[in-house]
């Protein structure tokens, strides 16, 4: 049986308009063999969770450079939980101080990629750590 390709939602929550990184990562993940859906900018946590369900994704990658990550990441996770899909892996990146990276890990965010991370690292991480949902 053919192996189902992993489906990843790359999302930009909140008002932050910096999408250079998110678009590069979406493209790199696509080149890396994954099915990628990019939400575009200015998504609310509800919209992201809705898209995750509609698109039946295995993981959601969030990009936040506005400093609002400690509000937005938890809200996305809550919205996913409310829809009964807390098994969707949440990871992300952006401008996130070390202290907050730890807090996000504690909240269940699987990995946080900060400035300097390579697309190679991210693709490899997804390959090694994200599994198709049952």
């Amino acid at each position: 049986m053919a192996e189902k390709r992993l489906r990843i939602l790359v999302a930009k929550p909140g008002l932050d308009g910096h999408d250079r990184g998110a678009k590069i990562i979406a493209r790199a993940l696509r080149d890396g063999g994954f099915e990628v859906i990019y939400t575009g900018l200015h998504q609310t946590p509800e919209m992201i969770a809705e898209a995750a369900v509609q698109e039946d994704v295995d993981a959601v990658g969030l990009s936040v450079l506005s400093g609002a990550h400690m509000t937005l990441f938890p809200e996305v996770m809550r919205a996913l939980k409310d829809r009964g899909v807390s098994d969707v892996a949440v990871f992300g990146g952006g401008i996130i101080p070390e202290d907050d990276v730890k807090k996000l890990h504690d909240l269940g965010v699987r990995e946080v990629f900060t400035p300097g991370a390579s697309t190679e690292d991210i693709v490899k991480w997804v390959h090694d750590n994200v599994h198709p949902r049952q």
Partner: protein, 544 residues
């Protein structure tokens, strides 16, 4: 006399050459040497004298010998009183103009108490919702003595109105108010991505502001035509040059279509360039830009007043070039970039702080950034003479080349039907995304080096203190906004917003109705809601 070809084939060939390509950060191939033969331009027609057409060597006759560039550090965070304090600090440290950073809710047209503002209040800039915030923000700052730049775009009309009402309340006539509002919507769709409504109505609002300022606020720059963000989004230097100038062309065309004479408004169009890593490329870019704009204004638009032809610019060192790793290295990067700006003849300069990949700058970090400019101005000697790199074979050859390549892009955009059409089909957006992806690939293959990241990384990073925004201030601001909304005359506000809506529909200039709304304590979000209703809401096409 030996030719360059001969020299390349003999002396150079015998000498060592390091492996790899020699290219700018934007991937322009650079020759081992430039000689007089590489410079095709004519000194009289193409280079000329400072303060004279085509202004390649500088927009003013005496440039920095007459007046140094304005040192204008971008600042804004937290509550208006926090930023007011930072403003006073910076002015006391020798800065000569203000530059305001607003938070994401302001930039996207939402009040601090809006659902979509949650977690974002005061984080990327200062929180402002009503005229009261604006009064606090500029407390004890005389608006006839200090010029202010405001970085805001889709809600710019309201912020300008608020600034003008603050001036009113300080007893200052609008004719004495000087400054700039970014208000460059075209580059929002291309790069910065702060919008409310689609491009065409957004352009209408920009033109309203150009027209309004030409008549009522003559010292004000109604648009800062920006390349900075285009570059930050990942474009090459040539793309930055081309798309920015193409945006400028679109604004001039729209104002002329409105019935304005070019010489009525063009002298208050200003520009805003990025100052990136590649020193030679940046200096050449700034010189090419001046020459291009002068020619376009004269030949394409028939400007008669020399003041309509001169490209006056603010510039900022490249945020995207800074590293989170070994942040003190950023001081060095910023110095080189700032120097390129000065040698490129900018009128106003912001130097980034070393900690800006991590957070908004601390007082200490921004002081170093300001001192960088002051040391260049007072100690480096480059301000003793105008355009000292002019005549360098490399610089003149690069200037010519960048002009040539940028003009090709502009022609392509013209052939598409202009910048609005180009934006609607995603042309500049896709070019930029492609360039960004290309650069990232080069970085990951070590074809381009970033010290501390893919070369010379440190096993252990020394932590530095960064600015923290107290999350409690969001609640404070929300409460203030709610209280203000309860206590003001709601009927008067509603009436004023209805007037704005009417003006949206009739095509009448929006600025007077918006000024009146602001006087009556209408908020940014409320006026923007009128735009949302009347002009529609634009959503990100999400092209990769």
């Amino acid at each position: 006399m030996k030719t360059k070809q001969d020299w390349l084939a003999t002396t150079y060939k015998k000498a060592e050459e390091r492996p790899g390509r020699f290219s700018t950060v934007s991937d322009l191939d650079i020759a081992p040497l430039y000689t007089p033969d590489d410079v095709k331009s004519d000194y009289a027609a193409d280079v000329g004298y400072p303060g004279e057409y085509p202004y390649t060597r500088g927009v003013y006759g005496s440039m920095y010998r007459g007046r140094l560039w304005t040192m204008r550090q971008f600042a804004g965070f937290g509550l208006p009183e926090d930023t007011n304090r930072r403003f006073h600090f910076l002015l006391a440290q020798g800065q000569d103009g203000l530059s305001t950073a607003f938070d994401m809710p302001v930039l996207m047209g939402y009040d601090a108490d809006h659902e979509r503002a949650k977690g974002e209040v005061g984080r990327e800039g200062v929180s402002v919702t009503s005229i009261h915030d604006m009064m606090r923000l500029f407390d004890r700052i005389p608006l006839d003595k200090v010029s202010t730049s405001m970085t805001v775009n889709c809600s710019a009309s309201i912020l300008l109105a608020m600034y003008l009402v603050v001036a009113e309340r300080q007893g200052i006539p609008w004719s004495s108010v000087g400054g700039t509002i970014q208000n460059d919507m075209l580059k929002e769709y291309i790069a910065q991505k702060e919008w409310i409504c689609p491009p065409r109505p957004a352009l209408r609002v920009v033109t309203d502001m150009i027209e309004f300022c030409a008549r009522k606020v003559p010292r004000w720059h109604a648009v800062s035509i920006s390349g900075y963000h285009i570059r930050e989004a990942g474009s090459t230097a040539v793309q930055e040059l081309a798309f920015t100038i193409a945006d400028g062309i679109c604004y001039v065309e729209d104002a002329v279509k409105r019935g304005l004479e070019v010489d009525q408004f063009a002298q208050r169009l200003s520009f805003f360039w990025n100052l990136h890593n590649d020193f030679l490329e940046e200096v050449a870019k700034l010189r090419a830009a001046r020459r291009m704009w002068a020619r376009i204004m004269k030949e394409r638009f028939g400007a008669k007043n020399p003041r309509s032809m001169i490209l006056r610019t603010h510039a900022q060192t490249a945020g995207a070039s800074l590293t989170a790793q070994q942040p003190i290295n950023n001081v060095v990067r910023v110095t080189i970039q700032a120097l390129a700006g000065v040698l490129g003849g900018v009128q106003s300069l912001h130097t980034n702080s070393m900690d800006e990949t991590l957070a908004l700058p601390t007082e200490q970090a921004v002081m170093v950034a300001l001192r960088t400019q002051q040391i260049i101005a007072e100690e480096s000697g480059v301000t003793n003479t105008i355009d000292p790199l002019g005549g360098s074979y490399a610089i003149e050859a690069l200037t010519d080349r960048m002009e040539r390549e940028a003009l090709e892009y502009i022609k392509r955009i013209d052939d598409m039907g202009g910048m609005i059409k180009a934006i609607e089909t995603g042309y500049p957006q896709r070019e930029i995304a492609e360039a960004a992806f290309h650069y990232q690939r080069q970085l990951e293959r070590d074809e381009k080096i970033v010290v501390g990241v893919n070369k010379y990384s440190a096993p252990e990073e020394l932590p530095i203190e960064t600015l923290k925004i107290d999350p409690a201030l969001e609640e404070l601001q929300v409460q203030r906004v709610r209280k203000m909304k309860r206590e003001r005359n709601s009927a008067a506000v509603r009436e004023s917003l209805a007037r704005v809506a009417e003006a949206c529909r009739s095509g009448e200039n929006l600025m007077d109705p918006i000024c009146e709304a602001v006087r009556r304590e209408a908020t940014i979000g409320e006026v923007c809601d009128v735009f949302r209703t009347e002009f529609g809401v634009y959503t990100d096409p999400g092209w990769l």
